[in-house]
């Protein structure tokens, strides 16, 4: 029962925060709404016994992405982050229609077609009795197991991700630095 309540609570928070984040005029408020959304998702991950992912969610999304977004806004917009006079969105009706269309015609049929009966019997049972089980049920995985899986079958993926991150880092630095250099030259030439 507790689990059920927590799920609905977190789901409502997540959806509301996401809507707020994408519709708010004030960008800084938007970032904080986004942070609440990330936190709600971390809560959902914890609820789903994926605690390492929850930790990484908090660490990467709230700790790093949120801060990066704040920095980007401070560097590009005016410091106050909001401008009531400016039109900040366009095509609200068509956007909503398109999003709703995707939901109704692409995602929901997909969910309906998923064969949900393929759940392992014992797991389904555990879910049914999750209320009293949640205190005693051992987590289905440990961080150690995750680490071992990461190193043994997925080592190449891990390396590729590491390479990707390095490339992204260098790329980000190059992109934001290069622009400045061009600007300097432009300023210097006339």
């Amino acid at each position: 029962m507790t689990q059920e309540t927590a799920f609905y609570l977190l789901a409502i928070i997540a959806v509301l925060a996401a809507v707020t984040a994408v519709r708010l005029r004030n960008l800084i408020h938007g970032v904080f709404a986004l942070v609440i959304f990330f936190a709600a998702l971390a809560g959902l991950f914890l609820l789903l016994m994926a605690q390492f992912i929850a930790a990484v969610q908090v660490l990467v999304y709230i700790g790093a992405v949120g801060i990066l977004l704040l920095f980007a806004i401070m560097l590009t917009e005016r410091v106050t982050g909001d401008d009531g006079r400016r039109i900040t969105s366009r095509g609200g009706f068509w956007g909503a229609t398109a999003a709703l269309g995707v939901a109704v015609f692409v995602l929901l049929p997909g969910i309906q077609q998923t064969d949900l009966n393929r759940l392992p019997a014992e797991l389904a049972e555990a879910n049914a009795t999750a209320a009293d089980a949640n205190a005693t049920m051992a987590p289905p995985h440990t961080v150690e197991a995750l680490g071992k899986r990461l190193i043994e079958p997925y080592i190449i993926t891990l390396e590729v991700v590491a390479l990707l991150l390095t490339a992204a880092l260098i790329g980000a630095v190059a992109v934001s630095q290069g622009a400045r250099r061009v600007e300097d030259e432009e300023e210097a030439s006339p």
Partner: protein, 385 residues
């Protein structure tokens, strides 16, 4: 929601909520006294028991401060974002309180009722610790931005830059311990150091501890890294516009964060609650844990009384050019040493590894220090002659 669950929650969290805030009050008194003595003053020594002449070395001062804070006018600047201005101190306090739950404080009364000895017995306690400590940055930004004051905003931006930079050496030095123990669980890390095999007593552990401690100073905005709240430059940085109870909350949050990060340092490097007499009286382990936390906080206060504040460029150069390479090298050395130890090498080889790693770390630290230091040209005085 069974009764046992509620009991367990109460038994593991209420002590944390009682002990640390009351220690906070005591710590402010210690800090004021110690700083005063360092500066050849006496410090608070008048406030004692109310309505009497008993002063008790000024121990009533924290209570008096608290009452003063409660009754002060709560001022919100005219252009401020009222909601965020209100939320910021709360957001600053909650993560700090939350991470206390990850410390392996083994409260003795938990054993009598078979409750878990730790508030959160999570597998990834250490990574959760770092994840939740990172939320503090957001609170600082909220406070700085919501005040609509350029000094606050500057302080907030400085704080973010500083915290993001110093989080990397902080995490990398903790990684060493995680690597050596093979677990992210705080209780496992504490157990692995039983028998005075503290990580502090190894060269790589010592280096990691020093890096961790320096980065922790920066994370908690303690002097000499208190640039975000530099009074002489930014008035008070991100809490310039805070007064009364909100300011008190910020203050509390800052001290709780100090306790939490010192507690993590104690867990990772100083053998958690281990100490003489724990074997006979297990209850002593909590006392030892808190005593170690206080030792670290004492060093923080001592450093605050000693060192002047860094410049922003020095701060950044120190994090990126000194601490970061050193902590990466330290990981390599620790990994190498771990392999040597695991391969069943003799004492001689181990000693060689010890001495070699000590020398390498020291030499590299020296070299980095020389390279990373901003070049000091001979000063030219234009006006002061």
């Amino acid at each position: 929601m069974s009764w046992e669950l509620i009991r367990d929650i109460l038994i593991t969290t209420v002590p944390l909520l009682v002990i640390f805030p009351s220690l906070f009050a005591f710590t402010t008194w210690i800090e004021r006294k110690a700083l005063a003595r360092i500066q050849n003053r006496i410090g608070p020594n008048k406030t004692g028991v109310p309505c009497t002449r008993i002063s008790l070395f000024g121990l009533g001062q924290p209570a008096a401060d608290g009452i003063k804070m409660l009754f002060k006018e709560d001022i919100v600047p005219k252009g401020a974002d009222r909601l965020f201005h209100l939320l910021a101190p709360i957001v600053a306090l909650i993560p700090a309180m939350l991470v206390l739950c990850f410390l392996p404080l083994e409260f003795p009364w938990a054993k009598f009722v078979q409750a878990p000895v730790q508030a959160f017995l999570l597998d990834g306690a250490v990574i959760f610790f770092f994840a939740i400590t990172g939320l503090n940055t957001l609170a600082v930004f909220m406070a700085g931005w919501a005040s609509r004051n350029k000094y606050s905003l500057l302080g907030g931006m400085r704080a973010i830059a500083q915290m993001v930079s110093y989080e990397i050496p902080l995490v990398l030095s903790a990684v060493i311990v995680v690597m050596l123990v093979g677990s992210l669980n705080a209780a496992d890390i504490a157990a692995a150091q039983k028998g005075y095999q503290w990580h502090l007593f190894t060269p790589w552990g010592l280096a990691a501890f020093v890096i961790f401690f320096i980065a922790a100073l920066a994370e908690t905005n303690r002097s000499p890294f208190d640039l975000p709240e530099a009074e002489s430059e930014l008035i008070a940085g991100y809490f310039t516009e805070y007064s009364g109870f909100k300011f008190a909350l910020f203050f509390l949050g800052e001290y709780i964060a100090m306790f939490a990060i010192s507690g993590l340092a104690v867990t990772l490097f100083l053998g958690a609650g281990e100490g003489p007499g724990v074997a006979a009286v297990p209850a002593l382990s909590v006392a030892w844990f808190i005593a170690k936390i206080f030792a670290l906080i004492g060093i923080m206060i001592w450093l605050r009384g000693t060192l002047p504040r860094l410049r922003v460029d020095q701060l950044m150069a120190f994090a990126w050019k000194f601490l970061l390479p050193l902590s990466i090298l330290n990981i390599l050395i620790a990994g190498f040493a771990w392999h040597v130890a695991k391969s069943g090498a003799g004492t001689g080889l181990k000693a060689v590894v010890w001495i070699a790693s000590l020398i390498t770390l020291y030499a590299v630290a020296r070299g980095l220090n020389r390279i990373s230091r901003p070049e000091a040209a001979p000063r030219e005085y234009k006006y002061a002659e």
